[in-house]
């Protein structure tokens, strides 16, 4: 299985540095305690719309994942290796979507040293938290715990060069100091700098926190400040109150400066300083064991006017085997707006076969291509074949302002290997 995955990755393209790292890391796999491996093969027939012309194409995609945990090396705890990669073939040349190519999403080795006081991650990874938000990075990330509750993390490396867009920078570094007094409660201060062509592309400091104020009240807040522009790029606060066992209400507010999300190296970063503010609230009510209701409304203040955004969603467990959902979303911004309605249902025929379907209708305030909305329906069947194998067939049909009519067909077959439970049970 493992050799098979390596073979597939090697076929993706010239990812020699990553493959060299993979080869070096491969040796401990044989001694690993827990191995999870996944393979997902997909075949998709779908249309694409390009400047008024519609054409159909076929995409074949292979996604692989590997997780090797509990590798036993003296002095290192929780040593693990993670890999996530994909490759794709397309029948269309110059497709508006991604054509025949592939890439590695994640490939890193991670472990803890000095009785968990220092944890290190090396390789292609997602750095999350604080000003980094979710930064895909080729580099190193370390967290040093000074005590049970207080620690500092730091990272440095090259922001992952996208195969589909230009990179936001060549080098990024940053860090976060945090205090974690209890599981789930944490406050932190953070810093991020990205350099592009030896010029600052982004330089932010951030504060963030999440706290269970009372056993039934929690607060989440964060803010990111652009040092170069001396303005708040992003700030938000949310307060959740669990009024009753089955009823929770929340209020939230946010401010963003969208122009500060452009790289400082973009020509457009000099033209405007825009603002977006929002405030609102909502509730989640588990009406019965079978039915839940979610409602949310927020008022928007954007440059050029005001807007409104609302969501209503209910999920109903019809029987032990069937669940349905109804959703409505309203978004109205200055000069435009959209109403989106959706219904879905999922039904398990038996322990192995599940059917699902959804239909979505969109009503536009301003027509696009002289069309006032769209409607798309999707139906899928999933089959848990057994022994780690599963399969899915899905098709959708609809009419949209761009495609007029659109039909897609997706076939997926997946395989999952895991020795986790056997190993876990033997502990």
């Amino acid at each position: 299985m493992n050799r098979e995955i390596v073979g597939r990755i090697a076929g993706v393209g010239s990812r020699w540095p990553a493959l060299a790292l993979l080869s070096i890391l491969w040796a401990p796999v044989a001694a690993a305690q827990v191995v999870d491996a996944t393979s997902t093969t997909m075949l998709r027939l779908k249309p694409e719309w390009q400047a008024g012309d519609t054409r159909n194409g076929v995409w074949g995609t292979e996604l692989v994942g590997l997780s090797v945990r509990n590798i036993e090396v003296a002095g290192v705890d929780d040593l693990n290796i993670q890999l996530s990669a994909w490759g794709q073939l397309s029948s269309l040349k110059d497709s508006i979507y991604t054509g025949s190519t592939g890439d590695i999403d994640l490939l890193y080795i991670q472990g803890a040293l000095f009785n968990h006081h220092l944890s290190l991650t090396l390789g292609r990874q997602l750095v999350s938290g604080g000003a980094a938000r979710v930064l895909q990075l080729d580099g190193v990330n370390g967290t040093l715990m000074f005590s049970r509750a207080f620690g500092v993390s730091a990272y440095a490396g090259a922001p992952t060069t996208s195969r589909f867009t230009y990179p936001v920078g060549e080098f990024a570094f940053g860090g976060r100091a945090f205090w974690r007094p209890s599981y789930g409660s944490e406050v932190g201060v953070s810093f991020l700098e990205i350099i592009s062509g030896s010029v600052l592309s982004r330089q932010d400091v951030g504060v963030d926190g999440r706290w269970a104020v009372l056993p039934n009240v929690s607060a989440t807040a964060s803010g990111i400040f652009s040092i170069q522009e001396e303005r708040v790029a992003d700030a938000s606060v949310t307060l959740n109150w669990q009024v009753l066992k089955d009823l929770e209400i929340f209020g939230k507010g946010a401010h963003t400066s969208p122009d500060l999300f452009l790289p400082l190296t973009s020509i457009f970063s000099v033209f405007a300083d825009t603002n977006r503010d929002s405030a609102g609230g909502g509730l989640f009510w588990q009406i019965t064991r079978q039915a839940g209701l979610y409602l949310e409304y927020q008022r928007l203040w954007v440059d050029g006017g005001n807007g409104d955004e609302a969501d209503a969603r209910t999920t109903i467990k019809l029987t032990r085997k069937s669940t349905m959902g109804l959703e409505a979303r309203f978004l109205f911004v200055p000069t435009n707006g959209v109403t989106d309605l959706r219904a879905w249902v999922s039904h398990s025929l038996n322990e192995k076969i599940r059917l699902s379907a959804d239909v979505e209708g969109t009503v536009l305030k301003n027509p696009v291509n002289a069309t006032g909305g769209s409607i798309v329906g999707t139906a899928s069947a999933t089959w848990a074949i057994g022994s780690g194998w599963n399969a899915m067939l899905s098709g959708s049909l609809g009419a949209t302002p761009f495609f007029q009519t659109a039909a897609t067909l997706t076939a997926r077959i997946g395989y999952t290997f895991s020795n986790w439970q056997q190993k876990g049970a033997a502990k």
Binding site: T220, G304, P334, D340, W344
Partner: protein, 353 residues
């Protein structure tokens, strides 16, 4: 196994305070409800009925509970008399034990090798009519097992296969109900370590590896309409309105060139072949309601979605020093950006040669 003092369970106690009650099993409805108290009163040992537990290495394993033949060893008369309701909750439709999903790694066989007294962990026996049966609290586990390091590092998966069985409060603090997909960025920004308890990075990468993975997760999982994915359905039709409603939300995952690459192929950018003009009339007329300068001040990210070609951008043609476009900078610009900055940034030199 060594006993540990209560004081060593500080983190657990903190969590228990948050949790309120810990833990209560949920899942399939019960079908058989034996009278444990009556059996104890009759002087029976637990293992009289549960002797199979000696060989059970994981929860959810078949054969944990006594077979009917075991019960009939004493209660055959009740069955013969049709008194199914003595044990079966639905006497009209007596069923077997419900299939339980294994949510915890627990090896009864190994525990019983150390001590065959069930009461060490099972502090309370299930009572008849009690729909949610008591299971040993986590504090009994920590009474023998020292998991302080795992606890402080949030490594719950060593024992817990599925934390959703544990009703922690407030629910939104831990559970993924309601609109968690939309809420989770703010939560993960502060407590990514809590996310790591159950999710590896590959789970995040399904959506967040946008730089290396072009397939939307909605395309990979069309069979999961219950998941509140961001780009579900006909997002293409909605995308310009969604972007206007929250420009920064797009930028958090997609670089501007993600927009320009697609818009170029749609012949919407000035550098595309035979470009189309998507702008309204009056776009270049000063004072017009549709004047591009006003629109740009309000929504510069949308301009960048087609026109960001660096120094080759058509904006530079007019907005360069000495050009007809005048000074495009927002108010207060020169206070933050001295002229000495120009020579350090090639982007500035596009207009300030």
């Amino acid at each position: 196994m060594s006993r540990r003092p209560l004081g060593a369970r500080g983190p657990a106690i903190l969590l228990l305070v948050l949790a309120g009650a810990w833990p209560v099993e949920a899942g399939e409805p019960l079908t058989i409800d034996p009278n444990h108290a009556g059996h104890v009163k009759a002087g029976l040992e637990c293992l009289t009925c549960h002797e199979a537990i000696f060989d059970v290495t994981s929860l959810g394993e078949p054969g944990v509970f006594p077979k009917e033949s075991k019960c009939l060893g004493c209660h055959k008369k009740e069955k013969d008399a049709g008194n199914c309701g003595m044990c079966h909750i639905r006497a009209d439709k007596p069923g077997t034990y419900p299939k339980r999903t294994q949510y915890l790694i627990m090896n009864h066989a190994k525990h019983l090798e150390k001590d065959d007294k069930c009461g060490v962990c099972h502090l309370t026996l299930p009572a008849r009519g009690q729909m949610e049966k008591p299971v040993p609290p986590m504090s009994t586990c920590l009474g023998c097992h020292n998991h302080d390091d795992q606890f402080k590092n949030g490594q719950c998966y060593g024992c817990h296969l599925d934390l959703t069985h544990f009703p922690l409060k407030p629910s939104s603090f831990f559970s993924h109900t309601a609109n968690f997909t939309r809420f989770h960025p703010n939560i993960a920004r502060s407590t990514a370590a809590a996310c790591d308890t159950c999710h590896q990075q590959s789970f995040c990468a399904d959506c967040h590896a946008a730089r290396t993975r072009p397939m939307r997760v909605e395309e990979i999982q069309p069979d999961r309409p219950d998941r509140n994915f961001i780009h579900w359905g006909d997002f293409l039709t909605r995308h310009s309105i969604e972007a206007r409603g929250n420009e920064a939300a797009c930028q958090k995952c997609h670089q501007i060139s993600f927009c320009t690459d697609c818009h170029k192929k749609q012949r919407l950018t000035p550098d595309s072949s035979n470009p189309l003009n998507p702008h309204p009339s009056g776009w270049l007329t000063t004072g017009s309601p549709s004047f591009h300068g006003t629109a740009a001040r309000q929504d510069i990210v949308s301009c960048a979605a087609c026109h960001d070609q660096g120094s080759a951008s058509n904006c530079v043609t007019c907005h360069r020093v000495g050009g007809p476009g005048g000074n495009p900078h927002p108010q207060g610009w020169t206070g933050k950006h001295p002229t000495s900055e120009i020579n350090r940034n090639t982007m500035c030199l596009s207009c300030h040669p």
